[in-house]
Amino acid sequence: MKPCHISAQLAAFLQNSVRSSIVTLFTLCLMRVPAQAQSFDISLKKTELQKKGANHHLIGGWGLGVAAYRERITSPRIYRGLQAELGAAYERQGQKSIASYDSWMGMGGFTDEAEGWNANFSGAFWLRSHLAYMFRLPMPEGRWSLHAGPSGQFYSMLRLQPTHGNASATHDFSMNGGLRARIEYALPSRSGETKRWFIFRIRESHLRYIRLGWEVDLGLLGLQSRPPYTGVPNVGGANAVAGALNEWVDHLRLAGLGQFTYLNNQLYIRYPLRNGNSLRVGLNSMGYRWSLRDQPVAVWIQTLNMGYQFRLDNHKDLR
């Protein structure tokens, strides 16, 4: 079996595993909802969150996944591979709004899956960040919450392929303004905790919320940079750095939805821990496509990420 086929199969396996495991987990969670909902009379409108004011969270995480890209300047072929990411996020949850920032940097190894010994390999590095301010929108049911608002998105990718000589490094970025929406479901969960009282240990039950959410970022208008038409900056110039900078400025364009597409969506589960912090598991998919004919590029990155969410505030009674 050839290395590229192994890589492709691993990627497919991982992708299918991620998908099926999350779906299974989610389905199991849904099946438990009715019984637990009867145990607690809850409503997000009455949660302590709304009584206590804003919560601050700091999230650190890592992720593994699959990615694919097509960079037509240097190749009509699609490159696929495995990738790893590291990320950090900050979130301020208020009564009526959520402000959040997250940033993920990743790298991956790719193959173009050409037949046999014709296969080419490449490496890529990327950074994606989101800044959003969302307002709480009315929802008919108490356990659901819906937020939406403006967001800023930044995506940047550097691709390296030594066999391409002067065009071996191509780079682009997208800095957009757009919208973010988040829908979240608070799944009540009984959680046991023991406390010492005299010589006895007493078990106390607390109400916690497992939160299931789906978050979508859509770019509407942005500054897009593309590599030079040939993939080569003007290295023949006396000052290669200045030449490359000029090329970069030349290829910077303001574009609207339709000329480019940026969509980042994440399905996540946040599970509360006893210490007030949370574990967060998410399935993130990012797609970017620059559609103009001369320099089209398309990138797709899907990551299963795991994070630890620290509570920065002192509302320890809030579960």
Partner: protein, 352 residues
Amino acid sequence: MIRTLRYTFLFLLPFFLGGCDKLWVGEQPAEDPRAVFEAFWTEIEEKYSYLDYKNLNWNQVYQTYSPMIRPGMDDTELFRVLEAMMNELKDGHANLFTPFTYSTYRPLFLSRPTNFDARLILERYLLRDSLSFFTTGPIQHTVLDTLGKRIGLMTYRDFTQTPSEAQLDFVMDRMRPCDGVILDVRGNGGGLLSNARSLAGRFTDEGRKSHYHRMKTGRGPDQFSRLEAVFTEPTGDEEHRFTGPVVLLQNRGSYSATSFLALHMRALPQVRLMGDTTGGGLGIPHGATLPNGWNYRFSVGQALSAERDSSGAYWNWENGVPPHIAVDLDPVQATQGFDSMIERAMIELLNP
């Protein structure tokens, strides 16, 4: 129940949206010979920077080679057709790379005399006084005592090899007391442009305009970036430069970055280019992949003269940088142990 199903669908939606990479990047391209040929022909038509300059009718080329493509032809047959089509460009920077071989336009070098005998230079000049001979990084050099005058001889055969600043300082320290220097770059097929620049900068104390450079920026034959002036700028410390008379020895094997060196040296008033016209290769090449995974490259830039001709146009140096003094290696003298080009260079330096 219906509500639960509705929400379940809502939550599963992102999997279908995000999980489909084909939605974003599409399918792999067809790899059949016809698709490969069409993609290759189109790429050259849209990006090659010398179609106009070389007066190539690329549509005519299509008519010639397209009928040679047939379904089921094997890789070597396809390679030969693509190689022949690419060689219509007559460009040493136009190469097709496959796992089993690669193409290059050899008549560029083979149609002219070699004008270079490495062993002759080593035996009869560099090792004439073995105590004076040094190999400092990629540069071999010596100082020849000729009729009481000191002539420095430097050879640099490969610009993919980069000397350190300290190594260049050492070489120039030895050249500095000389009455003249022969810089021999015959057979240097190129490499890093920065090496050519840093070397040329060791022979000047002030910046001088060398040439203009531009890159292809669109599909049209005239779509280029703005002209960028390129200068020969001083490099290294003043005490590690040589600004006396210099002869640059070049041949058709002096290609790519070495042709750029010739351009940079040509801008200096005390420098004479001698030998044959360089091989050219002043179009910066890009690299890319065909639908079947083969790689290729061809020129996407242009180097133009710093001066204009009588019609107001810039000269295009793609076919090589001509010498001030045209000299070929005399094979008869070579059998007698003399490199006629070095000998001619010495005469030039001794009788400025």
